[in-house]
Amino acid sequence: MIGDSSADGRSLLGRVRDRLEGPNTIGDSTTFWGAFAVVVAALAVYPQVVGPYTVIQTSRYFALAFLALSLCFIWGYAGVLSFGQVAFFGVAAYVFGIVGINLGSVTGAMVALVAAVVGGTLAAALLGYFMFYGGVRDTYVTIMTLVVALVLNTFMAQTAGSEWAVGEAQLGGFNGMNVPSLAFGIGQSGLVLERAALYYALLVTLVATYLGLRVLVNGSFGMTMVAVREDEARTATFGYDVPFVKLVVFTIGGALAAVGGVFYASWGNYVDPTVFGIGFAALPVVWVSIGGRESLLGAIGATLVIERMRTELSSGIGPVGSEWALVIVGGLLLTVILFMPAGVVPTLDDLADRARSRRTEQSQSTTATEEPVE
């Protein structure tokens, strides 16, 4: 890693920054970290200044941001485009509900959290093993992941009968399943994560996950991921085990989606088969394409903005009724992918970079007077 050998003499903060920064993430300047701190602080006081409805809605956007991070991580950094990240999101949501209902206590909710994340992660590992060691590539991976999500959608949709139950948990088919809230504590007493508490839990987890992913993608594993994205054959020639790298990446992606799924199910105390549906599966692709697939921050930002916009549109703005929300989202996706293929955040970063280098060039050319004029 960059600066590892010279880090001894530097401050702790400098060493931490070395880990967080690198060529694979946007925003390595002191200005960026300043702005980042300001935004996080603003989000921390946000629940104090807005109404409870906005807090609850924002919690939902945060939960969905994990889904965006999951896709951004595997697509943007390893080149594996999955249309089925919602599968692991949904599996985790259902596992959380099933275990939570059957155990039915605060400790039970903690066990359910672990079980759900493990379940979603294992599902991703299994599918990843199946695909990457079977030589399934590129578009075929995309189709296969989507098919898996649709299989789950079809399957869960027909579980309405009372014979479809795991212990005390009725799967409920299209009607969905009620899910307990996330909670931390022992026995029946503890902190139940609802409203503002859920908001803060999500904010802390999201910021920690973002920073953790930055460390990961700027470390040596991140470099290998990018190598796989850029040229699989060459990476394999250098002795890297490409299927294994993809499997690890896909599994981590599944874990991220699973965390989001648990929060999402706990947020609404509810999960139904639409989490596996084609409409929901489209959303992560929309967020990540618009935000910029090679930018973790872009994926989070786009999720928050687009979901906020969808919430606003759901009540209709002026002549634009709620039915136009999908048209606008789809049109936005088309426009961005046509005119800013890298996504909004990387394009802005590129523009800022270019403006900066032009400024330095200008200041250089004004000082260098002996340059011949042609």
Binding site: V136, I143, L146, V147, V151, I278, V327, L334, P341
Partner: protein, 307 residues
Amino acid sequence: MITPTATPLSISGYSLLALFFQFLDSFGFIVLATVGLAIIFGMMGVINLAHGEFILIGVYGTALAYHAGAPLPLGMVAGVIAATAFGVVVERTIVRHFYDRLLDSMVATWGLALVVSQLLLIVFGSSLDSISTPLGNVSYGPYSSSVYSSVLLPAIAVCVLAGLYALFTRTTFGIKARATIEDPETARAMGIDTDRMYVATFAIGSALAGLTGALYAPALGSITPNRGNTFLVEAFVAVVVGGQSVILGTLAASGVLSVFNATGSFLFGTFVGQMLLLLVAIVALRVLPDGITGYVDDWQQRRRAEE
């Protein structure tokens, strides 16, 4: 559609016949749903995720013309024309930017799919009146099958495949189109207008999607803006199971998938049939990552190398 009244597991001549009709029904559906997508994927390498919506435009064109008073065959022509025109516009404005960006093309066409199906919902409401299926049913023993969807449509499906085979192997246009796909640089050097070939190929794919929509407009029951997904999933699965070769791939994949789909549907209901189709597709992809035709190509090459 088959309505079993006897216990399905008892094997008799009638139930075998019913199973056969179910197979034809499913085969015709998968071939027609797939063929437009397969042309665009096989010839241009673009996966058109708005394929379901192209079919839907065929359905809507047909239904609107029919409800406006046109006879059904004329309505079907209107559906095909609408889908073809839409395809040409989409190729010129969107798809042509993505010929070398495969994954982006999937994302872009998905965006298009969202917009189109939602616009259909906004403009035409949550459903159009259904069109009654022509030709009626044929009864045999305790079963009955629709002549239209179990006999006529599979027959049309086979004719479409045969026609495409002739088009791409026996005509100058077909040879030019294949040359363009094989090696655009050389094709241009030989005086082929490759741009026009791309538009034409995409238009043929769209026309076939429109034809599928037109043919299924009277067989769908209710016509709703999310009907595209019914076709899309089957088409996807068949294209990836079939592989790059358009006609043979579609034929082989539809044959294999419809055997499983029909048997599952016949014995245990449509839900099991659908699940079986998807599970077979997943297993097939795992075992044959380049599809059936990819595997056959491989095998032929190996045999040639051995000789």
